[in-house]
């Protein structure tokens, strides 16, 4: 079933509205846009595209870490009030602090009382399966575990929106697949709205309910694909013909987007 890109972008219950957003850096580099995008509450949106196409910039603009040169970004009130969880490309943990203190950091900065924070930290660590490692230091953990701590830190404030910037890019494939599985289950269970930047179309196809394909710099939306397979998906989904077909089509769309910056296609995989 194929539907037009407009129908995907015109939903009314938008959690995030990116309206004609462009970004030009101070040195004159046009990094992004213009990009127009509407994301619904509870959607898991993966963003794929060639290196330097502005995927991370788009995420930073949504997080409010940078100002758009043109256009605007708006978040639904419920998302804004609950705060944003942000997971970076590397774990970005404080090496001098224990896992518990690292996870508690956003609560400390928000001025949450210590007793209340302790419960939230324990809950966040339990969500990522690291309840026993609260007193460990980051260097004592594997790369995958450090990334779990980073996810726990992003979740500790109980945000409704999670922004993830190639979080598993530096991990080995087995660890990455395992974290993808856990993340998929966690986001479906908590009904989080997620925007997930990745270089891997396999990861995008496995995790998301929607995949945005971006063209080369300055990045624009070249494809918008909905994946109807229910979440959370099991490991077995990776071995289904449907998964292979989605990957093939995403791969073709990405290749086309590299050569042809205009909008390539919108499609629903069912």
């Amino acid at each position: 079933m194929v539907s037009g890109g407009e129908s995907l972008q015109q939903s009314t219950d938008a959690a995030i509205v990116v309206d004609g957003v462009g970004k030009t850096f101070a040195n004159g580099t046009r990094a992004l846009g213009p990009v127009t995008l509407r994301i619904r509450q509870g959607e898991f949106v993966a963003v794929v595209g060639p290196s330097g196409c502005g995927k991370s910039t788009l995420l930073r603009l949504i997080a409010g870490l940078a100002e758009p040169s043109t256009g605007s970004v708006s978040l639904a009130r419920a998302l804004r009030d609950a705060g944003i969880g942000y997971v970076f490309q590397s774990p970005t943990l404080m090496p001098w602090a224990s896992v518990e203190r690292n996870v508690r950091l956003p609560l400390d900065l928000d001025g949450v009382p210590r007793e209340q924070a302790a419960d939230q930290v324990e809950h966040a660590l339990a969500m990522v399966g690291l309840r026993e490692f609260g007193q460990a230091y980051p260097r004592e953990l594997s790369g995958g575990m450090q990334m779990r701590v980073s996810i726990a830190r992003a979740l500790v404030t109980r945000p409704r929106l999670l922004l993830m910037d190639e979080p598993f890019g530096a991990l080995d494939e087995i660890t990455r697949n395992r974290l993808d599985l856990d993340l998929s289950a966690l986001c479906a269970r908590e009904n989080l709205t997620v925007m997930f930047v990745t270089h891997s179309i396999y990861e995008a196809a496995f995790l998301s309910s929607r995949v945005i394909v971006m063209s080369a710099r300055p990045g624009r939306i070249a494809g918008d694909f909905a994946i109807e397979e229910p979440r959370a998906r099991s490991d077995g989904y990776r071995h289904t013909p449907a998964f292979a077909r989605i990957n093939a089509q995403l791969s073709a769309a990405l290749a086309a987007a590299m050569d042809e910056p205009e909008f390539v296609k919108a499609q629903v995989f069912s």
Partner: protein, 261 residues
Amino acid sequence: MNNRWTGVVAPVLVGMALLLAWQAWVTVYDVPAYIVPSPLNIFSTLVRDWGLLSGSLLVTLGVTFAALLAAVVLGAALSVVFVQSRLVEASLFPYAVILQVTPLVAIAPLIIIWVDDSRAALVICATVASIFPVITSTTIGLRSVDPGLLDLFRMHGASRTQTLLRLRAPSAAPYFFAGLRIAAALALIGAVVAEFVAGTGGTRSGLAYQILQAGLQLNIPRLFAALALITLTGIALFAAVTALSKLVLRRWHESELPRDP
């Protein structure tokens, strides 16, 4: 071969071998004590003149510690100011460089003339000598912050003070301690140089004054004994700063983590 052997026993053995060779050379060639005294002669002088030398040692130690404390407090405070604004750093940093590149022996007489209290003058001289490594290392450290963590602090609306205390200061700790090791040695050197300058002007002070007096009186064993005390003080100071660095960084920073051989 474990770390204890390589870190302590090996240099001690080398030192003992050198002392033995020195003692043998002086004894065999009958070198006069007013040219080069033997280690045993220096040691016996140290014991005999301990009353005189220990008083001077305390003066030198006092000047060194006061200067190091001032260098740490002023240097760290200046670094914090530099990090707040590139303009402030660009405006003030050249003057920190001027302080560093101007020879202490050239400005020490002026400081001693301008400052009435001789002890305060010595502390100022030693502070001038030792503050630069603290400023440069700490400034680099305060700037060397994980940009992702800075973004996280910004997202949560952290104040400048929160960012300084919770993020910049711990990030700067390894750099600060690297600067402190150099500053500790320079504080001692600065104190000794300033004491020399003050001593030539007739001001009685620490170990450098004893060296000066011993040289004038051709009491070379006492000169060496005072010199040995300065050397030992420098080693002890370096060891103390290293131990402090290890205490603070041992759980998380690569420079102080135990390594497999």
